[in-house]
């Protein structure tokens, strides 16, 4: 099996304007590989929500995509405040987003639930005060 395709994106905190760049690039890449639209849409949604999470909560961070013949793995790595209660965070409508994010139409508490819904594997490793790593996998077969 060939080495996976590796993509990496830096996402800056509070940068609402360029959020979507990673998502577009992931989608574009999957399109060129001939991955079906239904799958690339899920990957695009996960990446976009992950970007927004980094912008709003994570204080910026990194998005990593690894694509091989079996799966698309998407990881979000930040050194932000961490998530005190993961069970709560993945509930629809739960949010800790500030006023600014909500004014811009974000922070509706749909981010993590949306990611979870679109992923085949969904894992969160988080430590309060240290940061959060989110790993999701979409199976190709």
């Amino acid at each position: 099996m060939a080495d996976p395709i590796h993509l990496e994106y830096e996402v800056a905190a509070d940068d609402y304007q360029t959020a979507g760049t990673a998502s577009n690039s992931v989608k574009e890449t999957l399109k060129m590989l001939g991955i079906p639209t239904a799958i690339s849409r899920r990957a695009a949604i996960i990446t976009y929500e992950a970007e927004m999470n980094l912008v709003i909560h994570g204080g910026g961070g990194k998005i990593v995509a690894n694509i091989d013949e079996k799966q698309v793995e998407l990881m979000t790595i930040d050194e932000g405040p961490g998530i005190p209660n993961v069970d709560k965070a993945v509930q629809e409508g739960f949010t800790t987003a500030g006023d600014r994010a909500r004014e811009m139409g974000f922070g509706a508490g749909m981010g993590l639930p949306n990611i979870k819904r679109n992923a085949d594997i969904f894992e969160i490793f988080t430590e309060v005060g240290k940061g959060t790593t989110l790993r999701t996998v979409i199976n190709l077969q």
């Binding site: 979507g20 399109k31 590989l33 001939g34 639209t37 091989d68 013949e69």
Partner: protein, 449 residues
């Protein structure tokens, strides 16, 4: 796939001005001349605006030839009425056009546009929040752009035939005529709409000519239309509003039973931005989206005769009656029940560009090659390779449609390394001559001395 952009190879100087204007990166300049990747072209006409040498033109039908056969049955995009020195009220234009051998469709057009707005309003009312917003299909370039670049939005396109097509079909049913019908089009996109319809249905229209050509012929023949407006049918004006951005939206809103949240944009950049945001799901709570790839809407089409600013200004002064009278609503309900007349039978298919390879592992190795090539390129998107960007260049190389030395910077690097190779080779000497080295000897002697 049929298209309506014509290339004049003798006029093209290979200047690469057009390649960056294309929203889908469909243009290459290969061997000094333009090539359009037909599968990627949406017929928006932006490249025609970018070309100073008229190397790109419209591939429409021959108006003089069509007229040579006698009276012409014609249908026009509503931009037509604002193309003359004063606004041609559709009701006044009818007689004048007949006098010039043009039987222009009006009543069916009025019905079709009313029906289209009415059907859209009913569809929006019948949809749940997550099925909205719906997207207008009036601009054929937008439909093609979505097929190509935003396939996830295909389900949002309203499954209604273009009202110009509906009108043509209504006219045919009503008159039982088999005579050819000619569309007067403000843009290449609507020319292609007739030649290569999106659905499986063949078009009810046979010929398409550019509006510019028709307007100029009419002007040359000195046709006059009275510009006074009293006593005109203001209801029959509603279709004319579709010529500008927001006209269709207003029509739908006026026919809707509830207040609608609508976004209407014009211009290519706005259209692309809006579709991108829509695809990311950022436009929640919107009911209807109207996009026109031309600035101001169809008034800004590349095939119109009048300045878009002037035609828009003239148009703004006309009055329209938006009230939907009960008897009119009844008529529209009857038309709505006849779904064959207006409904598009099947969903609009995706037309995405082919992947790098149909085999996933092969596609992956080509993608890696593409990334490697891209890393080597200067990333200034100069266009000298004939491609719109370094990224497009890298992709072309990975698709085996180009060489890395097409890049002038890579070529220079190659020449420079070749040159230094030549210099080092020039220093080498055949064995037989190695013994006699006068230069060196002198140097050595001088040092000794």
């Amino acid at each position: 796939m049929a298209h309506s952009i014509r290339i004049s190879y003798s006029a093209c100087h290979g200047c690469v001005n057009c390649i960056k204007s294309c929203p889908t990166e469909a243009i290459r300049v290969i061997a000094g001349s333009i090539t359009i990747i037909r599968d990627l072209c949406v017929d928006c006409g932006e490249c025609l605006r970018a070309c100073d040498r008229k190397a790109l033109g419209l591939d429409d039908d021959d108006w003089d030839l069509i007229r040579a056969h006698g009276e012409v049955d014609a249908i026009t995009d509503p931009t037509f009425f604002a193309q003359f020195s004063s606004y041609w009220h559709p009701e006044r234009a009818r007689e004048a056009l007949l006098g010039n051998g043009i039987n222009m469709l009006f009543d069916d057009v009025e019905d079709a546009f009313d029906l289209s707005a009415y059907a859209t309003a009913r569809m929006i009312e019948g949809m749940s929040k997550d099925q909205l917003p719906l997207i207008s299909i009036y601009c054929p370039a937008v439909v093609r752009l979505i097929q190509l670049e935003f396939p996830e939005l295909l389900s949002r396109l309203i499954l209604i035939e273009n009202p110009l097509e509906i009108a043509a079909e209504m006219w045919r049913k009503r008159t039982k005529s088999f005579a050819p019908l000619t569309l007067i089009s403000p843009c290449p996109a609507k020319i292609t709409m007739v030649r290569d319809p999106v659905g499986n249905q063949p078009s009810s229209i046979q010929h398409v000519v550019s509006m510019k050509k028709v307007v100029h012929t009419l002007m040359a023949s000195g046709v006059k239309v009275s510009s006074d407006s009293p006593g005109l049918d203001l209801e029959g004006r509603r279709f004319a509003e579709w010529a500008r951005r927001g006209g269709e939206s207003k029509h739908i809103l006026k026919f809707s039973k509830r207040d609608l949240r609508i976004i209407a944009v014009s211009g290519l950049r706005n259209t692309m931005d809006l579709l991108e945001q829509l695809e990311l799901g950022r436009l929640r709570g919107v009911d209807f989206v109207e996009c026109r790839t031309c600035d101001i809407g169809c008034f800004g089409g590349i095939a119109v005769a009048e300045s878009r600013f002037l035609s828009h200004m003239k148009h703004r002064n006309i009055e329209t009656d938006w009230a939907l009278m009960p008897e009119r609503a009844e008529q529209l309900d009857a038309m709505l029940a006849n779904e064959k007349l207006w409904k598009m039978n099947e969903p609009i298919p995706s037309k995405q560009r082919l992947p790098l390879s149909s085999d996933l592992s092969e596609a992956m190795s080509r993608l890696k090659q593409m990334k490697a090539v891209f890393a080597e390129l200067p990333h200034i998107d100069c266009g000298a390779c004939g491609r719109p960007s370094c990224k497009a260049m890298a992709e072309d190389v990975a698709r085996e449609q180009g060489e890395i030395t097409d890049c002038i910077f890579k070529l220079r690097e190659d020449i420079s390394s070749l040159a230094s190779q030549i210099i080092s080779l020039a220093d080498l000497q055949p064995n037989a001559l190695k013994r006699i080295q006068p230069g060196k000897n002198i140097k050595v002697n001088a040092q000794r001395g």
